[in-house]
């Protein structure tokens, strides 16, 4: 298994230990996650690679409080995701966790600047970032009034990253951010992710197929049949 460094609670972005997730596949029970342990420090940018169906998405779902594991502990900041109620999970996702989705998944009705305002309307946010400043940070200030269909794939992904950071989350979960991008845009987007993770001290977990972007990451892990293992050569 992987890292077992003992961090103090304040220094933990994400802490998963002994996490097992089962799901039924016909009559068989498949271990989507098999005794997975993973700790990500604030500001650390970790990539998880692996073939489809290896459990990468399950890892994000469990770390993001979207599914509860069948065994193990999951902690984001000082919030325990396993014991939290459904309602509390929504609050934890809203305030502590940022998601960056495959194709950005922006809302078609909203302009870039409104995409960033949206997370702040969902409920009380302790220290919201300034939407315009955030857009500037991802190089999209001049596109503030454009809607998603007026943006390129790379631009949409930049807005998606900015949106995920609006509430100053402890943990940023990134799902195949380069799936819809050419290699130049892929490099730019992942470089941006690395920069934001380091700058804001956000523990970041990125799931990807794309081995060409791994050199931006602090650490790379390999997922195989629900098991997580470190990869040495980056």
């Amino acid at each position: 298994m992987t890292t077992t460094t003992t961090e103090t609670t304040e220094r933990v972005g994400l802490m998963m230990s002994g996490v097992t997730l089962l799901h039924a596949d016909g009559e068989n029970e498949v271990r989507a996650l098999d005794d997975v342990s993973l700790t990500v420090r604030p500001g650390e940018f970790v990539a998880v690679v692996g073939p489809s169906g290896s459990g990468k998405s399950s890892l994000l779902a469990v770390a993001g409080g979207l599914i509860k594991p069948d065994a193990g502990r999951v902690q984001v900041g000082d919030a325990d995701l396993v014991t939290a109620s459904k309602r509390d999970l929504a609050t934890i996702r809203r305030t502590q966790i940022g998601f960056v989705f495959q194709s950005a998944n922006l809302l078609p009705a909203l302009t870039a600047i409104d995409q960033l305002r949206l997370p702040l309307t969902l409920g009380r946010v302790a220290e919201p970032r300034d939407p315009m400043q955030m857009l500037e940070e991802v190089g999209m200030a001049d596109r503030a009034d454009r809607r998603p269909h007026q943006l390129s794939g790379g631009e949409r992904q930049r807005v998606g990253i900015a949106r995920a950071l609006m509430t100053r989350p402890r943990l940023l979960l990134v799902d195949e951010p380069t799936a819809a991008l050419d290699s130049k845009r892929s490099q730019e987007v992942v470089a941006l992710l690395a920069r934001e993770a380091h700058k804001h001290g956000v523990a970041t977990v990125m799931v990807t197929h794309d081995r060409d972007v791994l050199h931006h990451c602090d650490r790379v892990l390999q997922m195989t049949d629900g098991k997580l293992a470190p990869v040495d050569e980056v």
Partner: protein
């Protein structure tokens, strides 16, 4: 509100389409409401304007045709006056006749026969009050149709002549026919088919259509006991509307159309918001993953449907009222009552919301997991 308003403006074409359907239904609602009130007025406005609490008809009379069938002895009025809680009771005659004025205007009339000193008799708004046999006091609306004071109205077949002495104010109709007040004895002669100069047998003067009863204030007389005692069947004024020709059928037809419209509107709005919710599934999943609570998503979608319904209904209401103002000026039986129109509009919005709720509730069933790439 944040998202609801931005989506309304972004997808304005789609929402405008839906809004027009609701607005058109609202227009139809206003017109039907006007027609319904108009038909009611046309059917029973003459009765509504009588200062009457109830009518005592012949015992066991067919209630849907009481005014045309009932025959009550005139002296039962005295029996009714003595009933506790009854302020006054007076004989009342009603019959429908075809007439023609001496200037050649054909008019159908509902003749209301009342005693000259009766509390049932209205005062004239123009001309003079009814003061003797052979006179007639007409509904004000007839003045617009070429009838004037001093004209003589001739009852078809029996050639009975009635002199127009005045008009009462406003619309007085019964069964879509204008009302004319005549002296009770004159009414009894016409009802008996007596021609001028005929020898009228005494028994003709013993019968009237009903005894009109006026209660004392809010008193509720023991109607069953009084009916038993006097040998009558009593209907309240409102109940007696059903005895006006065609009244029940007309009111029911219009009401049925209105109910269908409400149902159609609720279903159409429901279908629309269901489709919108299905189309937004991915968006909703993303918002849920971002931590949007069910309450937030419901509030947002419901705000959207309220805005759509209220704006569309208001627009429809405006168009309907404008059209209605035009219709009121025509021969159509059409009258808009603010309370009826307001109730219809509120109901349209309310039922639309019930429909929308069915679509909107789908947002609660979206799994945030679908926001993540493929399956786990």
């Amino acid at each position: 509100m944040f998202l609801a308003l931005r989506e309304l403006s972004f997808a304005r074409g789609r929402f405008a389409l839906m809004g027009s359907v609701v607005a058109l239904i609202a227009v139809l609602m206003v017109l039907l409401s006007g027609l319904s009130v108009g038909l009611v007025n046309d059917g029973v406005s003459g009765l509504k304007k009588l200062p009457v609490s109830s009518f005592a008809f012949e015992a066991g009379v067919d209630e849907s045709a009481a005014f045309t069938r009932s025959m009550v002895e005139i002296d039962k009025a005295e029996m009714w006056v003595d009933v506790p809680g009854v302020a006054d009771a007076a004989p009342f005659g009603l019959t429908l006749v075809n007439t023609r004025t001496d200037r050649g205007v054909d008019i159908d009339l509902a003749l209301f026969g009342v005693e000259l000193d009766s509390w049932l008799l209205p005062t004239a708004a123009t001309g003079s009050d009814l003061s003797g046999p052979g006179q007639i006091l007409l509904a004000g609306t007839l003045a617009d149709e070429g009838v004037a004071i001093g004209d003589v109205v001739v009852v078809d077949q029996i050639d009975k002549e009635l002199e127009v002495v005045g008009f009462v104010d406003g619309q007085h109709t019964f069964g879509h026919v204008d009302v004319g007040y005549v002296d009770l004895s004159t009414w009894q002669e016409i009802r008996a088919g007596a021609r001028p100069g005929d020898e009228v047998p005494n028994h003709v003067y013993r019968w009237v259509t009903a005894i009109a009863v006026l209660n004392e204030g809010d008193a509720e007389p023991d109607v069953a006991a009084a009916d038993e005692m006097a040998g009558t069947t009593t209907m309240t004024l409102e109940e007696s509307f059903g005895a006006s020709p065609g009244y029940t059928a007309e009111v029911m037809t219009v009401q049925m159309i209105q109910w269908f419209l409400y149902a159609i509107s609720a279903l159409v709005v429901g279908a629309f918001f269901t489709v919108v919710a299905i189309q937004r599934r991915q968006e909703i999943a993303v918002m849920r993953a971002m931590g949007a609570s069910t309450g937030y998503l419901l509030r947002d979608s419901i705000t959207q449907s309220v805005i759509l319904l209220v704006v569309a209904t208001a627009v429809g209401l405006g168009i309907g009222l404008a059209l209605g103002a035009g219709l009121s000026a025509t021969e159509m039986p059409f009258a808009l009552y603010p309370s009826a129109v307001a109730a219809a509009s509120a109901f349209l919005v309310l039922l639309g919301l019930v429909g929308a709720a069915f679509g909107v509730l789908r947002v609660t069933r979206v799994d945030p997991l679908t926001a993540l790439g493929a399956s786990r």
